[in-house]
């Protein structure tokens, strides 16, 4: 059955998208959703040594309809890597209209047991890489007349969590980066928004670290379940589509209402 005509507002045919952090479940969903909406994608990793996971993402994007998914295994905190990935996107796809970052590396430790090297890693893996990706892709978008960026982060950018002080600080920094950059580029055709995930039901997520914590957490959530990565697809497609042309500097939380509660 044909889809109603109005859903065409969300088609991304002719758009070129770079997804960084595509080895993660969240980045994979982002890439697949964009491909389903008709964009052409290049996928890049957050970290080196992720070829197997990246291959899996490439296969999923292919299943969504894109033949030959260009794939770049890189380290997203190295300037030269990001710059090369952006160049490759232009070369392989012919443009760069959409950047999605799914950059994340959770860190849990008491503040009094956290050292300076931890600080650098947490900030690099959650914040500095987002900043650099926005800069590198943004420069190209500004030159080429515009584009749109969605930064995928999580609800720890909005609230505090004990024993996750640095991680919360990094996510909070990302949240305000998006506000300020949105203002800076608003009149130059680049929109930038965020998606803040709730507690994720995905391998490698923090709640899997302790069964006891996971059990208590789930009872605390308004829907009494974790967020599935697939549940971010709709917000992503809305935010990157031209139909969201008046939305910038904003974040949409996919948390079932968690941020509403006391």
């Amino acid at each position: 059955m044909a889809l109603p005509a109005g859903t065409r507002d969300f088609l991304l045919g002719g758009k070129h998208a770079l997804v960084i952090g595509a080895e993660h479940p969240v980045g994979r969903v982002a890439a697949v959703s964009l491909a389903e909406a008709g964009a052409k994608i290049l996928i890049a990793s957050q970290e080196a040594g992720t070829a197997a996971a990246m291959k899996e993402t490439a296969k999923a994007v292919e299943a969504a309809g894109q033949k030959n998914v260009p794939t770049q295994v890189q380290h997203a905190v190295i300037r030269a890597d990001l710059s090369a990935t952006v160049d490759l996107t232009i070369r392989k796809l012919g443009g760069l209209d959409i950047l999605v970052t799914a950059l994340d590396n959770p860190f849990y430790a008491p503040a009094d047991a956290t050292n300076d090297s931890d600080f650098d890693h947490v900030m690099e893996d959650n914040f500095k890489n987002v900043w650099m990706a926005c800069q590198e892709a943004g420069r190209v978008m500004l030159q080429r007349g515009g584009g749109t960026i969605v930064v995928i982060s999580n609800v720890m950018g909005e609230r505090g969590v004990p024993n996750a002080t640095l991680y919360c600080a990094a996510k909070g920094a990302v949240r305000n980066l998006v506000r300020a950059l949105a203002l800076e580029w608003a009149r130059r055709g680049v929109r930038i928004n965020m998606i803040e995930c709730g507690w994720l039901d995905a391998a490698g997520s923090a709640q899997n670290s302790s069964d006891e914590f996971a059990e208590k957490l789930v009872k605390y959530l308004p829907y009494r379940r974790l967020m599935k990565p697939e549940e971010l697809g709709g917000a992503l497609i809305y935010l990157v589509s031209p139909a969201a042309g008046f939305v910038t500097g904003e974040s949409i939380a996919i948390d079932g209402g968690l941020l509403c509660r006391v």
Binding site: L3, P4, A5, G6, T7, D9, F10, L11, S33, E36, A37, V178, R179, A180, A182, L183, E184, A186, R187, R191, G198, P222, Y223, R224, M227, K228, E231, G233, G234, A235, I237, Y238, S241, A243, A244, G245, F246, V247, T248, G249, E250, I252, A253, I254, D255, G256, G257, L259, C260, R261
Partner: protein, 264 residues
Amino acid sequence: MILESFSLEGKVAIITGAGRGLGRAMAIRFANCGADIVAASRTLAQLEETAAAVRKLGRRCLVKPTDVTSSAQINTMVDAAIAEFGQIDILVNNAGIGEESFGKRIEKITDEDWRAGIDTNLSSQFYCARAALPHMVKRKRGKIINVASGYGLRGGKHNYMYACSKGAILQLTRSLALTYADDNIQTNCIVPGIFPHNAALMEFFKGGKFIPVGRVGEDEDVGPLAVFLAADASNHVNGELVIIDGGGLAGGITPTGVAPANSN
């Protein structure tokens, strides 16, 4: 497929304030995405125009003139919606007044002005939610979309009723969201920035030249956001405020919201 999750095929949406402005724009977008519409507001002639546009898109539209400050009239409207369509999937609480009161000094605001504003902007949303929720709870599905304003998040000089009623809508959204999560009902809030609907407001907002993206909002900007919040695409989004304001509320601590070097 992701685009399917934006379809409203087979769904029924009540929209208050559907006779003009954002309400009409949402009605038309919803219809274009496959929904049937219950159009409610005070003025029949305006509702008929919206209904004509909805029907032109091949969807049904029930026109129901309603004074949204009257819970009795709202209950009647919801009953009529059920009688006509048998279900309510989406409630858009959009009716509102009071932008013309901006700048009115506190001593000039009568008790009646205050109450009429609070009743239209805030109580109407409570009454509509109260009337529609049992029908959503029964089917364990539903979407409530409340329309607030940037003035729900920030204050304004000589802006009392409007800022208070819109701020309260954010809280109504959050409490409905938490309460009805168990019933698979999502309540979210659209927070529009500057959408001037007449020349006087355009003048009041200086044509929107301080808005970061460099333009005011157009009614059509809100339609796709409402579709997202009404559709399965937003099934884990709940209690959320989505600001649609050209970037204004991301800033505000400098005069224009953009860096001095880039300003106007």
